[in-house]
Symmetry: C2
DNA sequence: CATGCTATAATTGTATACAAAAAAGTCAAC
DNA sequence: GTTGACTTTTTTGTATACAATTATAGCATG
């Protein structure tokens, strides 16, 4: 509908060296992380093309990349929709995240430099500021980026790339299943994590992280039982990839 | 150069429902797994298009998917090459694989059905047969697929998709650094793994798997020191993404 | 008025044309 | 014969046109 900026070349918004599909990808990714795009939303190629002022070619690339990351589901001949993980899938995603986050925490405890600890603290302060001023969207995104920064400090690119996918999937899950208005991933816990890292206390760091992930999973268990009159939710266990 | 089959529609080779870029992707993926494509090989879009009888559009999709899995490196404006992991990157990849394989083995010990154990055994027998008859390429591919089947049995799609990327990267590493003619991933060890799984002996299964991965890593250490007159290898630690 | 069929519109899949960038080749100067 | 500027060729990036597929609307029938 409304063209947001006709990004084209010389787009200073983010970096300038990135190619166009990177920019489109990042915009959609952020929209999902900030929960401005809800699970199940259809992503029409032509509409997105008009919005970003590029051809479908570029949109298609961005969507397939999001598709690899499982953040959107690409249904052959039927277009892309924002992923809508079932409760079972959500559990599998959280499990995978436990596996990765454990490894990341151990690496971070070994590798973290003082400068990086300060970077982490600054990010959590920003996150806190967002929630304080009521900007929940940006807060949620920064919360996710905190976990990505951890994976970056762990200094293992394959794990980082996997983590990127898992973090955005978790954001989707939260968007779908978070019941109350409670902060889904409190910054207090993030500060505690940083302290454990600073003290190179691996067991504590890992245990805090697992506890952190328990919070997400608890919400799944709760919502597992509540009744709903939403057909889509009721039949969400019916795998319908096509 | 030579068109291999003009796949187009009604291609019965693999499945028939898969889309064209899936087929191209699978062909290139297999070629890498079978080490018919060596690290560093340039992947020209037009040539590949002629080979598979499709347009660059399809090739491009397949290459970006491989790029997402880090199996090929996409250099902006300079095309795609088969990834050529440095020793450090190789270590990071093997580390990530330890993390995933450990989780996979634990899940498999919990979940594996008798039928699936038999599937695993059959696959290793096939692998053995390949090596016995001297078809090293197919043997290596089946060896990789054994690990993918494990991840499938673990029943965690995100982990499986990550494993897919890691297994092919490991195959690349082996292609690059394997010195002797020794089997890189002996089927004996695979049979032992299956026995541990059948006995639901998690600690043993995990320990066998770690040992299995040690073999790959050992080769890195060895090759780390040997001299070479190959410029590309000598400067392989120089990160040159563009 | 619900159901099923047909025609039409909308959307995705693929090929191709052209623009932009990089690589390779040419040739002069030292 | 090596170096460096310039030209040509090749290759990649993007837009667009058309084909194939799916969704929608209209209409007839029970």
């Amino acid at each position: 509908m409304s063209q947001i900026s006709e990004l084209k070349k010389s787009d200073t918004k983010r970096d300038g060296k990135k190619t166009q599909d990177d920019i489109v990808y990042a915009h959609i990714f952020d929209a999902i992380l900030e929960q401005r795009l809800s699970p199940g939303t259809k992503l029409n190629e032509e509409s997105l093309g008009e919005i970003f002022g590029v051809s479908r070619t570029i949109i298609r690339r961005a969507l397939s990349r999001l598709g690899y990351e499982q953040v959107v589901v690409l249904r052959p001949n039927r277009g892309a929709v924002v992923a809508c993980p079932s409760i079972e899938e959500a559990r599998q995603i959280v499990f995978a995240r436990r596996v990765v986050e454990k490894a990341v925490m151990e690496l971070v405890c070994d590798n973290a430099q003082k400068k990086q600890l300060e970077q982490l603290r600054q990010m959590v302060r920003d996150e806190q500021a967002c929630f304080d001023r009521g900007d929940r969207g940006a807060g949620i995104r920064l919360s996710g980026e905190f976990h990505l920064l951890l994976a970056e400090i762990a200094n293992n690119p394959p794990l980082l790339s996997f983590q990127r996918s898992l973090v955005s999937l978790c954001s989707l899950i939260i968007a779908q299943y978070e019941s109350g208005a409670k902060s889904h991933c409190s910054y207090d816990e993030h500060f505690e994590l940083i302290d454990a890292i600073a003290g190179k206390d691996k067991p504590r760091a890992v245990s805090l992280m697992m506890h952190h992930l328990d919070h997400i999973e608890e919400k799944l268990s709760l919502d597992d039982e509540i009744a709903t009159d939403d057909l889509k939710a009721i039949f969400s266990h019916v795998r319908n990839p096509r």
